[in-house]
């Protein structure tokens, strides 16, 4: 990456008594991205996030946020971070506005105008002066986002942000995160086990399983495979057996023939089939969803 990473995890390990929750995770999170953190339940996502914000000590390794170590320069490092860790719990006996005032007082340079601006941004204008105990989960989630972005952090960490949101809420959150990321240049780090959600929301994802980082990949711009990579391509034909011999390879399933081809080869194969008098009803590349890739990678491994 051309930019200095916003977050740098250096061989981070977390041990609790004899159990290793997170093992030697090294990861750079580049600025200005929505970065997904994906893993099944119990993989160590939340533990990693807790270490990133200093809620939990780091057994080995270090985490640097904007160049500051969370261990040695906690106050400097964490002032660049806004976060919701797990559920957005607020002081229920205070109003939404009082909750925001509370967190605003803990930072420097947040005036009332900024609070109003954030309230408007998350769409809580009408209810901000009501007590939080009267809020729905979706509204608390919005208030959670509001407190996290009050001080315009460079890094926004959201742990399972779509938990308990309705489809409308999820969509709004997604649009909103994209806006933050692309308009204000905030780096957003989102953890989730909802794969389809991550696919829509993130620019890159890191996949963690059993406390180990198993993959980091980009999801946008044709992904890491690039333009000219050979992709799984399906041909739907009327005479699959004959077609199979012409294509010299591939697998047949009903009227479908699947084989790995790049762009030019697809056109060429199509021409050959047509010349041989085979009817080609359809050609499409098989894009495996993140979900399929994810399940393939993590297998059916049990938790733990």
């Amino acid at each position: 990456m051309q930019h200095e990473p916003v977050v740098r995890l250096e061989g981070v390990t977390k041990k609790v008594s004899s159990k290793t929750l997170v093992e030697n995770v090294t990861l750079d999170i580049p600025p200005g991205q929505v970065f997904g953190f994906l893993g099944p339940n119990g993989a160590g996502k939340t533990t990693t996030i807790r270490m990133m914000v200093g809620l939990t000590s780091i057994s080995q390794g270090d985490i640097k946020i904007c160049g500051y170590s969370i261990k040695e320069h906690f106050e400097k490092a964490v002032s660049n971070v806004g976060a919701i860790v797990e559920n957005p719990e607020m002081y229920k006996f205070l109003t939404g506005y009082q909750n925001l005032r509370h967190f605003a007082r803990m930072m420097t340079g947040i005036n009332d105008a900024r609070i109003q601006e954030v309230v408007k941004l998350v769409g809580l204008n009408n209810r901000i002066h009501d007590k939080v105990k009267t809020y729905s989960l979706g509204m608390r989630q919005r208030l959670g986002v509001a407190q996290a972005i009050l001080h315009r952090p460079k890094l926004l960490i959201l742990d399972e942000p779509t938990n308990g949101l309705d489809p409308q809420g999820i969509r709004e959150l997604r649009d909103y995160l994209r806006h933050l990321c692309h308009e204000e240049g905030t780096t957003v780090f989102v953890s989730s086990h909802l794969l389809s959600e991550m696919e829509l929301m993130c620019d890159s994802v890191a996949i963690i399983q059993n406390g180990r980082l198993i993959d980091v990949r980009s999801l946008k711009d044709g992904s890491i495979e690039g333009q000219d990579a050979a992709l799984e391509t399906e041909f739907m034909v009327d005479e699959p057996v004959k077609a199979l011999s012409i294509l010299q390879g591939g697998t047949q399933q009903g009227s479908l023939i699947t084989l790995k081809l790049n762009r030019d080869e697809v056109a060429e194969m199509n021409a050959r089939l047509v010349q041989a008098g085979i009817k080609v009803y359809g050609i499409h590349t098989v894009t495996r969803s993140l979900e399929e890739q994810f399940l393939e990678m993590t297998g059916g491994d049990p938790i733990g």
Partner: protein, 260 residues
């Protein structure tokens, strides 16, 4: 970064924006109004002075004052854990020590408020109801009623102050408000029994027990306590315990991994 005062302001907001706090303060005010009135009804002969009334009244109401301060102290840290808001609190650019200190300061301020409220109301009501100028039997020789009363209240406050520190420590260590309240009140009510069982007159080591020293009112009547302990010695023992309690709170709070 920022100033420490705003942290204390936050903690105060979390205490005084709760209905519970106002119910407690309300009860404290009402009880402090009622008890001198009750005394004036049962008292006969007009012998009771203002200061007799204040001391008698506060010997009841100070329990209430201690209980309420303990409740606030016990909830200060444990509440944040049970609400889950501790996670939001600790990811701000403030060290854990400062956050803990701001909580402790707000708790002490609350206990002072309760005590001043108690003293103010009972002195005011007593002075309206009683005018007896007779030499009180309760007063040690050579002390004015007012000086004795204020010293008495100060001793009560020291007792409360230590009890609150215990509740605050238990709240931080166990993260359970109920347990902290229960244990702190248990100590408050049983310290008399402990002192009787383990009197410094019988066991030398008993003079290092905290129970022996929490009630300093004995020193108002005599300069020497049981087993030959002095006021200075008592204060020194209390100071050591106090520092240990706060050090334990601080250590546990700043080292703890915050997990669900």
């Amino acid at each position: 970064m920022g100033n420490f005062f705003s942290l204390v302001q936050n903690e105060n907001m979390k205490i005084y924006r709760r209905v519970r706090t106002w119910v407690m303060l309300g009860i404290l005010v009402i009880v402090n109004l009622l008890i001198p009135i009750l005394f004036s009804m049962v008292e006969s002969g007009g012998q009771t002075t203002i200061w007799d009334s204040v001391i008698l009244s506060s010997s009841f109401t100070f329990f209430l004052c201690t209980i309420f301060s303990v409740i606030i102290a016990a909830d200060s840290v444990a509440g944040e854990f049970s609400w889950g808001t501790i996670k939001l609190l600790l990811i701000r650019p403030w060290s854990r020590s400062k956050i803990l200190l701001s909580k402790y300061v707000s708790v002490v301020l609350f206990s002072l408020l309760c005590t001043l409220l108690l003293a103010g109301i009972s002195i005011l009501v007593s002075s309206l109801l009683f005018s007896g100028a007779a030499e009180s039997g309760m007063l040690p020789f050579g002390k004015s009623g007012m000086a004795f009363t204020l010293q008495y209240l100060l001793c009560d406050y020291v007792n409360l102050f230590i009890t609150v520190a215990i509740a605050f420590m238990l709240s931080t260590v166990f993260r359970a408000g109920g347990l902290a309240i229960g244990l702190a009140l248990f100590m408050m009510f049983t310290k008399g029994i402990f002192t009787t069982l383990f009197s410094p007159e019988r066991y030398v080591w008993a003079k290092y027990l905290i129970f022996t020293h929490m009630d300093l009112t004995n020193y108002l009547q005599s300069s020497e306590g049981p087993g030959g302990i002095t006021l200075g010695f008592s204060l020194a023992v209390l100071a050591v315990y106090y520092i240990v309690f706060l050090a334990i709170s601080w250590y546990v709070f700043s080292k703890r991994d915050v997990a669900a």
